[in-house]
Symmetry: D2
Subunit: 300 residues, 4 copies
């Protein structure tokens, strides 16, 4: 079966494969709708749940927005608010905690630039707590880095982050990355937060060593947005509709011409801008006590 970075999709795929939507042992899911957004919490509780969904034990919160074509100021605001809420439910913060925000991905590849773009709008204060403490007295302590992918640095991203952690000692890490999804309709509409960390490059390119609380020693919250679907997924789905056995056969011999190909909406450049606005808005208001409408004073 094809890989998805979304726990929600993994669960749907299990239901679909089994033909029934009865509960999976070790998996608990709960959905609510608010102002047109759907917020789903999937808890993977034990080894059975982990095996069933192919995801680490922990909590996954999914915020589903309306189709990107209806993106507007109102959905930007609602997205920020729900993201802030979800983030604070996963991240046990008190006023003196320092948080490091890491933007993963390759800024030179449009659908993979999400992490870098969010970092550009992040309100960073760690240095000012020493250099100009009065100016940032009310704000949280936040640092950030977008280290680039291993193909550009030659270094495992987890090693770069470990090195920085040892010099800065934050209480928690927020990691942002573009994800891969099973379904084109999720591109630029779904945000997933989880407390299980992330493997860089899972959205685009090869998976690298995981960034999580085991490898880094402090809580790691991952925030991701599906930006691409593999071309092979699209082809598989199309075949599967007509013939399951042929689809299985296809999986064993994926044509070379499909590998390395990604599927995106034509308007991916706009989706990138809009989703990075929601992510930075939600993260900034979660880490700092700033009203959403005053954010631009800090981020320009």
């Amino acid at each position: 079966m094809f890989r998805t970075d979304l726990a929600l999709e993994a669960k749907e795929m299990v239901h679909e494969a089994s033909g029934k939507t009865t509960e999976i042992e070790g998996v608990k899911a709960e959905s609510q709708e608010r102002d047109g957004l759907t917020i789903t919490t999937v808890d993977i509780l034990n080894e059975n749940g982990k095996k069933a969904l192919g995801k680490e034990i922990g909590r996954y919160i999914t915020i589903e927005l309306p189709p990107h074509s209806s993106f507007c100021e109102a959905y930007y605001r609602l997205g920020c608010i729900e993201l802030k809420k979800a983030l604070l439910s996963l991240l046990d913060l008190n006023k003196n905690n320092e948080v490091l925000v890491v933007g993963l991905g390759n800024r030179e590849i449009t659908p993979d630039a999400l992490g870098s773009l969010v970092l550009q709008k992040l309100i960073v204060t760690r240095h000012l707590k020493t250099l100009a403490p009065d100016a940032v007295e009310e704000l949280g302590t936040v640092s950030g880095i977008a280290p680039g992918v291993m193909g550009m640095t030659g270094i495992e991203t987890v090693e770069i982050i470990k090195g920085i952690l040892e010099k800065t000692n934050p209480s928690a890490i927020i990691v942002i990355d573009a994800l891969a999804s099973r379904s084109t309709k999720r591109i630029g509409t779904t945000i997933q937060l989880c407390n299980t960390g992330i493997s860089p490059g899972s959205g685009i390119g090869n998976t690298r060593k995981a960034l999580n609380s085991t490898s880094l020693g402090i809580p790691v919250i991952a925030i991701g947005v599906p930006m691409v679907v593999d071309a092979a997924t699209i082809a598989f789905d199309a075949i599967y509709e007509s013939s399951k056995p042929t689809a299985e056969e296809f999986l064993k011999n994926i044509p070379d011409t499909l590998k390395n190909m990604i599927v995106t909406p034509k308007e991916i450049d706009k989706i990138l801008v809009n989703m990075s606005a929601i992510l930075s808005g939600g993260i900034n208001t979660a880490l700092h006590p700033i009203p959403l409408e005053e954010l631009s004073q800090y981020t320009g």
Copy 2:
């Protein structure tokens, strides 16, 4: 059947559909290999050929480069040389002729930015023929514009170009656009030139009114490079392999989630840079008597 912008592919599709490679009446094709590049000339001679390939009567020259992963300085040079040769074979130029180069496409959408990028590197001299004639005495007379797509201007591109033609009176037009292909392996490796013009937006988005010698009144040479494949094409091909009738069925009900989706290689941003370098190199050396190695003096 799915659309292709390449006459070469259209011909291959006819052969494939009929199961034989005998000649198509009204179509003449000829291939040669030079230094690892394949140059194919397809002539559509009459109405029968036009109907068979779904392409206008005229000449189509295709330059096929090796896979993009092996792109290097040498292939850049060979690509420029073959493009210059092909362009001059289609364009009957004498020293005093003025040429207008038009870059189509939407520069805000990565795979559609090809035309705009080529225009950035175009050596433009028309104004200098009056303002500084000595400085450009040896050079051709060239003007250029990248008007943007109809969705951004509100005006049919053919109307903008007609308006400019009436003010500048060039002898010929070269139009550059990103194309759609049937096959992922052609993305960033194939260049098509033709003397039949082009319909803006055929690569990405909706087709608009044609730019050709009928609509514009002077010779129109189109240069295009496949930059995307439709997601539906990928799905269709996958199904077709296993069951032709199912594939036909699929065609009648293409899922909404696939429409508006495009397939590109992950490294599309690099392909864009490299292909626009070949196109501008070939066009600049065709329109001006400048050796390839001295181009950067003019284009910075």
Copy 3:
């Protein structure tokens, strides 16, 4: 004396040179302050006023915002509102009028990219009035183009616009360009509107043939924002402070190393983004009956 594109500055310079702020015959000026913004209307009434200020006869409205460092959502809104108001006072529009918006400047040079950036956010509807009239029934009829500078097209911009006018027949033109100012403190804080048109390249590079109602045959409203100061201006001002005669001497022999040099704030990239947001917001709400907070639904 050094050139300024702002009528307001030209007036200040006359006062300064004469050492008095008495009225200049043929020039009428009036200022008001609203919500921290200063709006000044300068009317050049006759040949004497024209000669005194070195500006064409007509109306110049200047909107002065607080320093860029205090830019925020609130000033964005106020800027949009005042711009809309000023624009509608200069432009006699009725519901069926068609407006062409022209973005001047070179998008490859950061401080000169203002026109192009505003065009990217312009809500363009002219084509939809035919293709999807119901969808845009309530909206105005707007087209737009960012033709690029003469150095990139080889064609006088006024000729390109004339060609397009003949094909589209709008009732009025709005032209947007980056300006040069006398003073660094105006960069990114002042917006000038006028009904006398503009000469492309006055901000950066060489002045080209004017775009105005005489050359184009319909009303031309120009909107400009100072984005640079000439390096020679900075030097002149510094010398002038200490010795007027030396300053006069300097003017006669401006060192070659200063020519072609521009002065900008370090944060010019951010200023560009913020000022283009105000300009597109003000123009879109003036040409279409859309509330400011719903704009992002149309512009993405």
Copy 4:
């Protein structure tokens, strides 16, 4: 006196101030011309030389190219060759040494993006030495990072680099940054290499803690290119020409409107592209045994 990042300029300023070009005790300088490029080596030998020039004890090599307007393929090649030569004279490398290349500066500010751009073209191999050793057997071991400025990370750059050093253990560091110069004519024409390290932000913005062999514990080679001149420098120079005392006075009260302003050539965007090409070409050929003409195979 105004600050310069160039030892060569510091020396010229001392000569100018003293009115004589006799040798400065503790400073040794030597120039040669090769193919139109001037290569100057300034050695600061002792405390007296350090005090006289305001630069650390060590070696400074300056490569001066012709004016940017005459930039061409030939000067690109010559620049790469001289940079490689100078770099290898400062860096004692053997085949097994690992080098970390650090690109300083803020990629969001055009003249400060030099370091980031060079990193984009760096051939990085460190990870492949483990993952695909055969593919890079002939190449050096190189890693790289462009961490962003302290204003974006909240962390002193030297701390980030220290953290990474502890995880990767390279033998030497090459640091790249945009510099400030005294003179507009050096912008984009002069390259300085030195073995004394660098203070991030010296070109644009506030100076931060130094990156040098003392702070990092291994050899640090800094490579810089002047990309800006302070606006106050331009003004000072202009006044100084006419009256030295007034200039001294000006220095004590630099107008606020000049602070935070930078002077660049109009074509700074092109200069950035061309200079980053020379820097990456020189560094890549110094660290890897790859002929210049085959570089594009590796960097795309």
